[in-house]
């Protein structure tokens, strides 16, 4: 064999080697692309439920989890990728198609030497977290070393979900329902110029705007203490979203029926028109464009706050919750199914502020939330969606202590009560496992205190202590990490 053929053979071999290597590299790249998964997790809740804090704590703890040392589980021991040490890297970045959730400013506030809860968000915002991990499956491991799950976490006001039933209502029917509601319970005590709007008065843009403002003020009064109500329709009035939204479609309020039919040019006619515009320009697009894209959803409910606020507020929250629930129905003749097909396949209801009660009450807190959510027959009106209930706290402000008090062994909470300045011990009492009875309300047993967030040492990088945030995360996205 001549040296030249030998050389040639060598070259062919090298080429073949190289080709094989690049094919393997391409296959790996392709596999990694194919294995990459992306999903949208929506976090919502009626106002004061703690969405902002939840998102901030979640993102921060996730971000730190990738930097844990071997064997450490940080604050997320029940999130499997962390518990099994498979999480390699977490990258946080804003989303391309949505306003960025103000993660860093919020975090700064929580990590401040004199920490405070971040201000609540008003509209739709989101943040992305790319979780790179080592897959476990035989297939995954043979093909790639690491793969990525991209989680897009979206925060939107739960109030927006209250508007769904309006899509099925005419302006007259909706007005009648709202007027009825405004004359009952604590709402009857609120006055407002909107109650005096005459349906037959000639329509003017100024008049419509005044009605909107007056009705919005009424809704705000309903929401604030001492009423603390939750069923506030239209939900968008209080949280219009971003500043750019055109308020022209919002210029209506409940109107008593006009005597002798609606004539053109009157307030009644104009408001009916605006009501339809609100439905088609504001409510429908939200469901069609945004809500339809959520794969998993977390609904935060301030059960403890509702107990604190009394029976009216509590019942109103149940009403609001039942309305919100309709958005998750996937049964075939549901309103939403006619609009679009919801993608949500996992739904977690979580009672927030679990740190306001002792740990032995979490069980009851969960049961109570469930009792608030189910219909009178005890069924959960969400078919085909995997639903769970949880008690959680995004930032754990208290510690459980077992003490001897008046000769009894009890579990107490230790923490700094808001505006009190120094740590105190308190016995928060019990959460009923069923809907509270009249007797429960009369006994004034529900008095839960708000706490100051704990001072978190920035340098230690341990993240934010929480209650069951990791379990919620595991339920929502844990199944993606195979």
């Amino acid at each position: 064999m001549s040296p030249s053929t030998d050389d040639f053979g060598q070259r062919v071999l090298t080429l073949a080697d190289r080709a094989a290597a690049s094919i393997a590299a391409a296959a790996r790249l392709l596999a990694e692309r194919a294995l990459r998964r992306k999903l949208r997790v929506a976090v919502t809740g009626l106002s004061r439920a703690g969405k902002t804090v939840f998102l901030t704590a979640l993102l921060h703890n996730l971000h730190l989890a990738a930097r844990l040392k071997e064997g450490q589980t940080g604050h997320l021991p029940f999130f499997d990728p962390v518990a099994k040490g498979r999480l390699e890297d977490v990258t946080l970045r804003p989303l391309a198609d949505l306003p960025a959730f103000p993660f860093l400013p919020n975090l700064d506030r929580l990590l401040d030497p004199s920490p405070d809860f971040p201000p609540s968000t008003t509209g739709l915002s989101g943040f992305g977290a790319a979780l790179r991990y080592r897959p476990r499956g035989l297939l995954g491991r043979q093909l790639v070393d690491t793969t990525t799950v991209e989680v897009e976490i979206i925060d939107y006001p739960g109030e927006w979900l209250l508007d769904l039933p309006m899509l099925e209502q005419s302006f007259e029917a909706w007005s009648a329902a709202m007027l009825r509601l405004s004359q009952t319970g604590p709402r009857a005590s609120l006055s407002g110029a909107w109650r005096q709007v005459s349906p037959d008065a000639p329509a003017s843009e100024d008049g419509l705007e005044a009605a909107r403002q007056s009705y919005t003020a009424y809704l705000r009064d309903c929401r604030e203490q001492p009423l603390s109500l939750s069923f506030l329709q239209p939900g968008r009035f209080l949280r219009p979203g971003d500043d750019a939204v055109d308020l022209a479609a919002f210029r209506f309020c409940p109107l008593s029926p006009a005597g002798g039919g609606v004539r053109a040019g009157t307030m009644a006619a104009a408001m009916r028109d605006r009501f339809e515009r609100y439905k088609s320009e504001i409510v429908r697009p939200f469901y069609e464009d945004v809500f339809s894209g959520f794969d998993r959803q977390l609904v935060l409910v301030d059960v403890v706050g509702a107990l604190n606020a009394g029976p009216h507020s509590f019942d109103d929250m149940r009403l609001a919750l039942n309305t919100v629930l309709r958005s998750f129905e996937r049964d075939d003749d549901g309103l939403l199914s006619r609009l679009f097909r919801s993608r949500t396949d996992k739904l977690l209801f979580a009672a927030t502020k679990a740190d306001h009660v002792t740990a032995n009450q979490f069980h009851n807190l969960r049961l109570l939330l469930r009792a608030m959510t189910v219909d009178d027959a005890g069924r959960l009106p969400v078919a085909n969606v995997e639903t769970e209930f949880a008690a959680l706290s995004a930032v754990k402000c208290t510690a459980n202590k077992r003490v001897l008090y008046q000769g009894q062994q009890i579990t107490v909470l230790e923490g700094v009560i808001k505006n009190h300045g120094a740590p105190e011990q308190l016995f928060p009492g019990e959460i009923p496992e069923h809907l509270p009875t009249a007797e429960d309300w009369a006994s004034e047993r529900f008095r839960f205190y708000d706490f100051q967030p704990p001072s978190l040492d920035r340098d230690r990088g341990r993240g934010i202590p929480h209650i069951h945030l990791d379990k919620a995360l595991q339920f929502l996205i844990g199944d993606l990490f195979w």
Binding site: A359, K401, Y405, Q408
Partner: protein, 353 residues
């Protein structure tokens, strides 16, 4: 909750409460769950009484003879000279102190073993109880027991890091299992694999029939000791014997001889299995027996019972330790255990150590 309802909810005046030491939340006196007596233990009690009587009286007779003998010998020495008597007293004193120390040590270890047993039995009950906070005392017993080895201490630190006062009993157990026990299990499996391999080699190369039995015996004792050490039991000869006795009393692993055939078949192919020498088969058989003994030891030393999905698999273990022997061209130590897709425990160990 009983009685608590009578206390009115609200802020408690400062200084009105007394902390209960050691209790994070709701920790009842430690070891709270009634221990159900093991059925095997009670069934065996009756026949043993005479044996015990015999042993006790024999021990009393012998120690009586020894003590009287020593006293007489001392008296004799003192008769000869006070100086000699003093030396004799010193010698006897030294021997008694050493003896007491030895007995004390063995006793402590046996007690330790017994604590481990009782902890294990309670673990069964605790793992079922979600939304309860009664097991903190138990958990700290568990941590104290496990943290006596160096690895155990490190793992327990990680466990303490992860546990919070808001985790209920079941969550606490799950965390302990994941963070502490899985890596320890893996270390124990490794010890068993090593021993199985050693006995297999020893038995297949030993020239004389009696020697391989000795090798197996010596290596098995060492393995049981290693396994016990992994789980924080600090075993001595006597407690290893007690352990082995218990292992046989409560054996739950059924092993069939066909594991041997399986292993040979899997690694050499059915046709070849017939061709290998009887000596090698003997070796594999010894290895399998050792591995089985190892799993029994693990079952006895592990402070919590296995849950169904992480129960060790003898076949897999044997195949891992002996497979490399049967495949030429591989060094036994270098073969990583082949993992099945859902085999978490292995993985946990990799990242845990």
């Amino acid at each position: 909750m009983n009685g608590e309802t009578r206390i009115k909810p609200g802020i408690l005046p400062s200084g009105a409460t007394t902390p209960i030491p050691g209790a994070v939340i709701e920790s009842a006196p430690s070891l709270p769950v009634p221990v159900e007596s093991a059925p095997l233990a009670t069934a065996r009690r009756r026949g043993v009484r005479w044996g015990i009587a015999l042993a006790v009286s024999l021990a009393a007779l012998i120690s009586g003879v020894v003590v009287i003998d020593a006293a007489l010998w001392l008296a004799d020495l003192f008769d000869r000279s006070a100086w000699l008597g003093g030396v004799g007293t010193l010698l006897i004193g030294g021997v008694s102190v050493a003896l007491a120390g030895f007995i004390g040590g063995e006793y402590r270890n046996l007690m330790r073993l017994r604590t481990a047993q009782s902890i294990r039995e309670q673990g069964y009950h605790l793992a079922e109880a979600s939304d309860r906070f009664e097991g903190r005392g138990f958990m700290s017993d568990l941590v104290r027991l496990t943290a006596s080895s160096r690895t155990g201490r490190l793992l327990c630190e990680q466990y303490r890091d992860a546990i919070a006062d808001t985790h209920d009993d079941r969550e606490a157990m799950q965390l302990f299992e994941r963070i502490v026990l899985r890596p320890l299990d893996e270390a124990a499996y490794a010890a068993v694999r090593r021993a199985a391999r050693d006995t297999a080699i020893g038995a297949s190369v030993s020239p004389v029939a009696g020697v391989d039995a000795l090798i197996v015996l010596w290596r098995s004792m060492r393995m049981v000791r290693e396994v016990a050490e992994v789980y924080g039991l600090r075993p001595t000869r006597l407690s290893v014997l007690a352990l082995i006795r218990r292992m046989f009393l409560t054996a739950t692993f059924a092993v069939t001889a066909d594991v041997v055939g399986d292993v040979l078949g899997a690694h050499l192919g059915g046709r070849l299995a017939g061709l290998i020498s009887g000596k090698l088969a003997e070796g594999v058989f010894a290895g399998v027996r050792t591995a089985r003994l190892g799993l029994l030891a693990i079952e006895q030393c592990r402070p919590l019972p296995f849950t169904d999905d992480d129960r060790p698999n003898l076949r897999q273990l044997v195949s891992q330790s002996l497979g490399s022997l049967l495949q030429p061209g591989q060094r036994p130590n270098d073969t990583p255990p082949r993992r099945t897709p859902d085999d978490d425990s292995m993985h946990a160990a990799d990242s845990g150590n």
